[in-house]
């Protein structure tokens, strides 16, 4: 009887520990769903940074995607550059990874993969894991290529460019 009681207590304690463990680690993995992004689709961009929003929850990089020739950025019917945004971790974690207002000033050319929003808005979540490559200043890659092909590029995040299609 005493043994049974002890085993029961052990089970309760173990269950509580499991729940506490899950509760402690879950927020670190994801504090919200990614349902608003189409995680099945990956778009690859090489573009020019227009602004960085160092938001505490999700840093955003706004950029003008370059055309396939890598000579100009894509423009809308009004002649203005088309702007996309890539979102990622909070500004502090991003800064620890090397992504900040200071390291991505306006005009920076970089390559990134993202999962676009389902809403159709021109924004998406950074592919993770997946590298971001910064081109050397004002040196875009060759036609159809990404910044990882340019000599002197900077790699952020380690690993490779996410397998993505179509290349932009």
């Amino acid at each position: 009887m005493e043994m049974k009681k002890k085993a029961g207590l052990f089970q309760v304690a173990a269950s509580l520990a499991l729940v506490a463990g899950v509760a402690a680690t879950a927020p670190a993995i994801a504090h919200h769903s990614f349902a608003l992004y189409n995680m099945e689709q990956t778009l690859m961009f090489t573009g020019v940074v227009t602004r960085v929003n160092p938001d505490a929850n999700h840093l955003q990089i706004f950029f003008a995607p370059m055309n396939e020739e890598r000579k100009n950025v894509q423009r809308g019917e009004d002649g203005k550059p088309v702007i996309w945004a890539v979102e990622m971790t909070g500004s502090a974690q991003a800064a620890a990874d090397g992504i900040s207002v200071g390291t991505f000033p306006p005009g920076t050319i970089f390559s990134v993969g993202l999962h676009p929003l389902r809403s159709g808005e021109k924004a998406g979540a950074r592919v993770n894991p997946g590298s971001i490559y910064k081109c050397p200043e004002k040196k875009p890659p060759a036609p159809g290529m990404q910044c990882d092909s340019v000599e002197g590029h900077v790699t952020i995040g380690g690993g490779q460019l996410p397998g993505a299609a179509p290349a932009r």
């Binding site: 020019v48 227009t50 950025v73 550059p81 306006p106």
Partner: protein
């Protein structure tokens, strides 16, 4: 210096950079800001409810306000410091955020309401300090105060959900679109 330049300088300051890049700064400062705001609203609410006669008028109004409002001021000071630190981290985004602007307006309105109450209505407190219902002006000040502080809190939370996307291309000579 123009306003946009000042805001940009605040964001580019060493404090702004520290708030953005430290893994611990924002969570600690933000939690402290919430605690300070809780203290401000909690103490203000008790004083305001007393003005509205809730729960009753048996305790002197001046005793309640003297005991609590000193805590309110300490907490408000802490909220201003922590709020300024959070603002510095991303000033360029906050300053164009509608919820943030409305929150600042609501804070200003709460301050004006309090100044009018302290400067005018409170002068006659001797006549209604204890045992009788406060005059209409005092009750109105209490009600307005509660509504304005609830608005401040609601808008403060709203900021986090309305930063959205700013696709506007800034006028920056460093941005080159053709190579």
């Amino acid at each position: 210096m123009e306003f946009a330049g000042l805001v940009n300088d605040i964001q580019a300051s060493a404090i702004g950079e520290w708030m953005r890049s430290s893994l611990k700064a924002m969570p600690v400062v933000e939690a402290t800001h919430v605690l300070a705001a809780t203290m401000v609203f909690g103490t203000v609410l008790i004083v305001d409810l007393r003005l509205l006669g809730i729960p009753n008028a048996t305790r002197a109004f001046t005793r309640i306000s003297d005991e609590l409002l000193r805590l309110t001021w300490w907490a408000f000071g802490l909220a201003v410091v922590t709020g300024s630190l959070m603002f510095a981290a991303n000033a360029n985004t906050y300053v164009i955020n509608t919820a943030f602007r409305l929150k600042m307006l609501a804070l200003l309105a709460a301050g004006i309401n309090m100044a009018i109450f302290q400067g005018a209505t409170l002068r006659g407190v001797g006549g209604w300090d204890v045992g009788v219902a406060p005059p209409r002006a005092a009750r109105l000040a209490g009600l307005l105060s509660i509504l304005l502080w609830v608005t401040v809190i609601m808008l403060a939370r709203w900021i986090g959900f309305t930063k959205g996307y700013n696709f506007v291309v800034p006028d920056d000579p460093n941005i080159k679109f053709d190579f």
